[in-house]
């Protein structure tokens, strides 16, 4: 099962909203959290220490740390709705991979 980190500044408010949107959209495409993928909520500071347990990180805040070995994508579209489909496509690709 693919594991996805969802991070924001404090790991509380916008990550919760982003996770909710992810679950909603992925469920609409037939994927279930806990069965097909797992979301891990955290703060951006914790991303490096959690990266080795995950396949992808989605952050709503700015994130540039080259030391993280997994792909990191900008999750802002999950909040604004603009371009959210592109993120869902990427996550779906990962789940199917």
């Amino acid at each position: 099962m693919k594991k996805i980190i969802v991070a924001c500044g404090a790991g509380v408010v916008t990550s919760t909203t982003a996770m909710n949107k992810l679950n909603e959209e992925l469920s609409a495409r037939g994927y279930q959290e806990g069965t097909d993928y797992k979301l891990m909520q955290t703060s951006v500071q914790q991303v490096p220490s959690m990266a080795d347990q995950a396949d992808l990180a989605i952050t709503t805040t700015q994130y540039d740390n080259d030391e993280v070995k997994i792909p990191v994508i900008n999750g802002l579209p999950l909040l604004t709705g603009i371009g959210a489909d592109d993120i869902i496509d990427k996550v779906e690709e990962l789940i199917k991979a």
């Binding site: 404090a10 509380v12 408010v13 919760t16 909203t17 709503t60 900008n74 604004t80 709705g81 603009i82």
Partner: protein, 154 residues
């Protein structure tokens, strides 16, 4: 409407910058006993590190907030702005977002308030509705518009 209060909605706020807007909204949340005294400084500090401007379309929005430990009673304080002010983009600090609508979040347990947060994000995507809200001159009317929007589902 549990999280929205007529005392926490300001129409056509006249401020020069993001700090002033944040301070004004934090002050009314403190006066209303929703947050502790340190909330204001915590939001101001956090905005510098993790800005909250959202490029939601023609009308930009911002959602300043901070750690849940400063919150006593969850609420959202709203302001529309007389003139747009600049917040930094949440996803890219080098970019400016012209903000005309602010929702300051004082959340205690976001997981139990996720429907409210989702509904808020949906509002930002309804640019036509936002356009009407930012035209509203009167705080009481703005409160009623917001209460009726959130009441539909939350």
């Amino acid at each position: 409407m549990k999280y929205i209060d007529k005392d926490l909605v300001l129409a056509q706020l006249d401020v020069k910058n993001a700090d002033e807007a944040i301070s004004t909204l934090a002050d009314i949340l403190y006066k209303h006993k929703n947050v502790s005294q340190n909330y204001k400084q915590a939001v101001l500090d956090r905005e510098k590190i993790f800005p909250t401007g959202l490029p939601s379309g023609k009308i930009g929005v911002a959602i300043p907030h901070t750690d849940v430990k400063y919150v006593n009673k969850p609420a959202i304080a709203f302001a529309t702005l007389n003139e747009p002010i600049i917040f930094k983009n949440m996803a890219d600090k080098s970019q400016d977002v012209k903000v005309q609508f602010i929702a300051m979040l004082a959340m205690k347990e976001p997981h139990s308030q996720v429907e409210l947060l989702q509904k808020l994000m949906e509002l930002f995507q309804h640019q036509d509705l936002l356009a009407n809200l930012i035209q509203e001159e009167n705080s009481k009317n703005l409160y009623e518009d917001l209460a009726s929007y959130f009441d539909k589902e939350v």
